[in-house]
């Protein structure tokens, strides 16, 4: 029974590490800081949950499991908040997102028309871009 728990715990740790690794690949390959923030914070939090759960299974019900719970709580509190703060700071500083090959400018972010917005007929017969 204990060995099965150890095995499952170890498997969860490996799964968590794999998730973290995927996040790392994402941070390397994504084109823009906002998408990288997504990749890093999501996979960090999820990977941390899996790893800490796996370690808790390995350690059984001891004081260390309580400490693992604290680590989990602090990671859950701080990683998304830090990601939010970073994205907030980046956007309010004027760092505009980039989708594919298209760099969104400040004007499009504020609501003007960009090259991708669909065009529609207006009442006076002129085709114009809808914001």
């Amino acid at each position: 029974m204990v060995d099965a728990l150890h095995l499952i715990g170890g498997g969860l740790v490996v799964a968590g590490t794999l998730l973290t690794l995927l996040g790392g690949v994402g941070v390397l390959r994504f084109p823009d800081v906002y998408t990288r923030i997504h990749a890093a914070s999501l996979t960090d939090t999820g990977g941390a949950t899996l790893v800490l759960l796996g370690l808790a299974l390995i350690s059984g019900l001891t004081l260390e499991t309580l400490k693992l719970g604290f680590v989990w709580m602090f990671v859950m509190l701080t990683t998304p908040a830090a990601a939010n703060a970073l994205a907030n700071a980046a956007f309010s500083a004027g760092h505009t997102p980039r989708i594919g090959a298209f760099q969104i400018t400040k004007g499009v972010a504020a609501g003007e028309a960009g090259p991708d917005t669909p065009r529609r007929e207006t009442s006076d017969g002129n085709k114009s871009a809808a914001p």
């Binding site: 509190l77 998304p80 908040a81 309010s92």
Partner: protein
């Protein structure tokens, strides 16, 4: 299982060393000061993991909190006061320093080959005084963490010196930069329109938790990794977080500059005072066995700590408790004073 642990340790040592080299080279070549400070924090973290791999828990603790935490924040405050741009330098000026560094480094590496095996019980460091500490600590001091016993009792005078050095560093920074914001300058206006709700809520949750954890580390230092220095630095992080999120003005309203200064002095006084009390009661300076006069020791109930055999170690236990408290007060207050000094300077208009 330990066989795998040994192989993992070896592989980790190599991987961490490579990371350290890469980060070190990057720090030297980085053009942006902010990125350099960031990488220095990363360097400290990798060093902390390396110390953990070498099974040095207290040192790793201190490296993680001081090197990657406080030192990064204080360095940020420092480069705020610097108007620096990239500097072109002549590569010819680096030849002589490079030769010197390589020469000294080569000598050090050569000397390292003469060091004893890691963890060798017969090495001079481990065979004489080290072994005596390990053998005699349960009898003489009764504290499970031998590092704390050595730091606080056997080498208590050195720890007093370290505390005074930290205090002197705080005084030095305060004399150069002032103790806090100049009272004539108004506080900077709040950063409006940026929607920092998440940050403020999280900070309100975390500040008391950080302070509580600092006290846990302080009192747990007798049993596990921890102690006064680490706890003091962690305790200083709580007001720093408060100042970062809610503004320095608010933090100074809560923790006035004079109070923080006084707390730093109180810590050193407490530490030295314990030593003087020991002298008054007939022992040497910081000789905790003489902390209590025999009359007082007789009235402490022997079962207070649950172990009547060790009742003769009351002096040691209380002595270590009080000096760790002194270290906590001084280190925390000094770090906060240094932060006040750096962050309180008015900088260029945003």
């Amino acid at each position: 299982m330990s066989e795998i642990a040994l192989q993992v340790n070896f592989a980790l040592n190599i991987a961490l060393l490579l990371m350290l080299i890469a980060v070190g080279v990057a720090i030297a070549r980085m053009r942006s000061l902010l990125a350099a400070i960031l990488l220095m924090g990363v360097y400290s973290l990798v060093s902390a993991v390396w110390l953990i791999v070498m099974d040095a828990a207290d040192v790793a603790f201190t490296e993680a909190v001081v090197g990657a935490g406080i030192s990064t924040i204080v360095l940020l405050g420092a480069i705020l006061l610097v108007r620096a741009g990239p500097v072109r330098h002549n590569w010819r000026m680096t030849i002589a320093p490079a030769v010197l560094v390589l020469g000294v480094g080569g000598l050090l590496v050569y000397a390292m080959t003469g060091l004893p095996e890691f963890g060798d019980p017969a090495s001079p460091a481990n065979a004489y005084v080290g072994r005596n500490y390990l053998i005699q600590t349960p009898d003489e001091i009764g504290v499970p963490n031998v590092v704390t016993a050595v730091l606080a009792s056997y080498r208590g005078f050195d720890t007093l010196g370290e505390t005074v050095v930290v205090f002197a560093a705080g005084i030095g920074v305060a004399l150069m930069l002032g103790f806090g914001p100049r009272s004539s300058l108004p506080p900077l206006p709040a950063a409006m329109g940026d929607h920092h709700v998440v940050l403020r809520v999280t900070a309100r949750l975390l500040i008391p938790l950080i302070a509580l954890f600092a006290f846990y580390v302080q009192f747990h230092g007798d049993l596990g990794a921890g102690g006064g220095f680490q706890a003091g630095v962690i305790l200083a992080v709580a007001p720093i977080l408060h100042a970062l999120v809610f503004g320095l003005h608010e933090t100074i309203a809560a923790l006035p500059v004079r109070a923080v200064r006084s707390i730093a002095t109180l810590g050193v006084l407490l530490f030295a005072g314990v030593g003087v009390i020991c002298m008054i009661n007939g022992g040497g300076f910081l000789d905790y066995d003489h902390l209590f006069p025999p009359g007082v020791e007789a009235i402490i109930p022997p079962g207070l700590l649950g172990d009547p055999d060790h009742a003769h170690q009351w002096g040691q236990h209380f002595g270590i408790f009080f000096i760790e408290l002194g270290v906590l007060l001084t280190v925390a207050a000094t770090m906060v004073t240094i932060f006040y000094g750096f962050a309180g300077r008015a900088v260029e208009e945003p």
